[in-house]
């Protein structure tokens, strides 16, 4: 993975330089955007609802036993919006969308479709990478905002339904509002924006360097997902350190 980081940075930079061409590729951007949403929305909904529920279930009874019932909403709310929603959704998207990007571009590479584009003077970065990166960079933060809201709902539902916690819906959101500020939500959304670039660049790069037929495509897909997740976790630590200070 690390030997390819230079190539990935170059790919990312070339994509940035191609951003003025985005409008020309708008149809492909919308196509990719809806594919990401369509493929992920239900999974995001289920995953974030249960993550919110599990956090409430883990922290709720401990806090309530210590007389800190009014902190449950805040703890659940801030954990979801600053950490769990951006990281878990990015990992989900790496598995669901990053793998598809690597497989599609990888198979185009193996079956000479990318060579065919080059012979027609069509830049594969403009044609294949740019629309995917723009789409994922817009879609993932939106999915994370949605995941935060659903995660909070999941937490509130468990707090209401679980007899050991027994906090009403309204009380949960009142305490959540006292603790969670808009900048905390933006913090999570910003992280997801960075992670989206990571997933997009890693997956497209893996696709573009695929060699060796169907087995090579399989290897690229695995590498795209694993490398994306490793980089997401490492960058999550770095971003958290930076954002906590600011």
């Amino acid at each position: 993975m690390f030997e390819n980081i230079g190539e990935m940075v170059i790919l990312w930079w070339r994509t940035l330089l191609a951003l003025p061409r985005s409008w020309r590729q708008r149809e492909k951007v919308f196509e990719q955007f809806f594919e990401i949403g369509n493929a992920s929305l239900l999974m995001v909904c289920i995953l974030s609802f249960f993550i919110g529920g599990v956090i409430a279930l883990q922290t709720g009874p401990v806090l309530v036993e210590r007389g800190l019932a009014n902190a449950v909403g805040g703890v659940v709310g801030i954990s979801i919006c600053k950490e769990l929603a951006p990281v878990m959704m990015s990992i989900l998207i790496a598995g669901r969308i990053g793998s598809a990007m690597a497989a599609e571009i990888g198979s185009m590479r193996v079956y000479q479709e990318i060579d065919a584009l080059r012979t027609m003077n069509i830049n594969p970065i403009h044609y294949l990478v740019l629309p995917r990166l723009i789409a994922i960079a817009v879609a993932l933060p939106l999915l994370v905002i949605f995941a935060i809201l659903v995660g909070w709902l999941g937490g509130a539902f468990v707090c209401t339904a679980n007899s050991r916690i027994d906090i009403s819906f309204a009380a949960f959101f009142t305490t959540l509002r006292d603790v969670v500020q808009i900048k905390d939500v933006l913090n999570g959304v910003f992280k997801s924006f960075v992670f989206a670039w990571i997933v997009g660049v890693v997956s497209c790069h893996q696709g573009l360097i695929t060699i060796g037929g169907p087995r090579g495509i399989g290897r690229s897909v695995t590498k795209a997902v694993v490398n994306s997740i490793v980089l997401i976790v490492i960058l999550d630590y770095i971003l958290t350190r930076v954002l906590v200070r600011s």
Binding site: R24, E104, S107, M108, Y111, Q112, E113, D115, A116, L117, R118, T119, M120, N121, I122, Y127
Partner: protein, 251 residues
């Protein structure tokens, strides 16, 4: 590449001292030959002899380790020559974009470079598909086509560029004899109609001697013989003789 406009005139290709190695294995060992403007030149040789690698160099998909390729006397490595001339390649597999329809594949060059309005592109696509005998196939997906049809779509896609040089990589491989003859006829008709230069790599003897103005035989990265088809047939080189005359006989 320049905008396709007038009837194209073929361009000449010169290959001088071309060398290429992959992982220490030398695939091209100093190739020298010339393709004249408007000529059909067939490069024959066994699988793995470096034919496809050579084509990739001519179209700029590979960089040579040594030597140079000139298009109309201008080296392709040292300037934007590949942007000045209209070159097209028909890949062995067709290399159609599987996510696009046949019509979208054929019109891709014009659409992506915004050279024509959509209605004009649709008309050109219909025309080019008719030329290769696939009228009405615009809405089909590549996965619905046979190997021969894919190759004909790839030729139609190349025609849209109105090329001055077409490179064909094994145009008749994996085809039944009738489809192979159809493709060979297309190559000759195209050459006669728009005087495009055609560089074909193949190990199909019937194709080579049926369509070529000149033939070269390559083996192990080196050209063994070059000349008009009847001259190559009379070559004294033992490999060329075996390659052109070998037949499988049971028992």
């Amino acid at each position: 590449m320049t905008t396709p406009s007038s009837q194209p005139q073929g361009v000449g290709v010169q290959v001088r001292g071309l060398r290429k190695s992959f992982n220490g294995h030398e695939v091209l060992k100093g190739l020298n030959f010339e393709v004249k403007p408007g000529e059909i030149f067939v490069l024959m040789g066994p699988s793995g002899s470096g034919k496809s690698v050579l084509l990739k160099h001519v179209i700029g998909l590979e960089e040579p380790d040594a030597g140079e390729i000139l298009i109309d006397g201008k080296p392709i490595q040292s300037s934007n020559v590949l942007d000045q001339y209209r070159l097209a390649m028909v890949f062995q597999s067709g290399a159609l974009l599987n996510s696009l329809t046949v019509g979208e594949n054929v019109g891709l060059y014009l659409a992506e470079h915004r050279l024509k309005p959509p209605e004009e592109i649709a008309r050109i696509v219909t025309d080019k598909l008719e030329v290769v005998g696939l009228k009405g196939a615009e809405d089909q997906m590549p996965s619905e086509l046979s190997g021969g049809m894919k190759k004909r779509v790839a030729i139609a896609r190349a025609l849209v560029i109105e090329p001055q040089l077409i490179l064909y990589d094994e145009p008749t491989s994996e085809l039944d004899p009738l489809s192979a003859v159809n493709i060979a006829e297309e190559i000759v008709k195209l050459n006669q109609r728009i005087s495009v230069t055609s560089l074909i790599v193949s190990h199909d003897r019937d194709l080579a001697f049926g369509v070529a103005d000149r033939v070269a035989v390559i083996n192990d990265g080196q050209i063994l013989t070059i000349g008009a088809p009847h001259e190559v047939e009379q070559s004294k080189d033992p490999f060329v003789h075996d390659f052109l005359s070998v037949r499988f006989r049971r028992g």
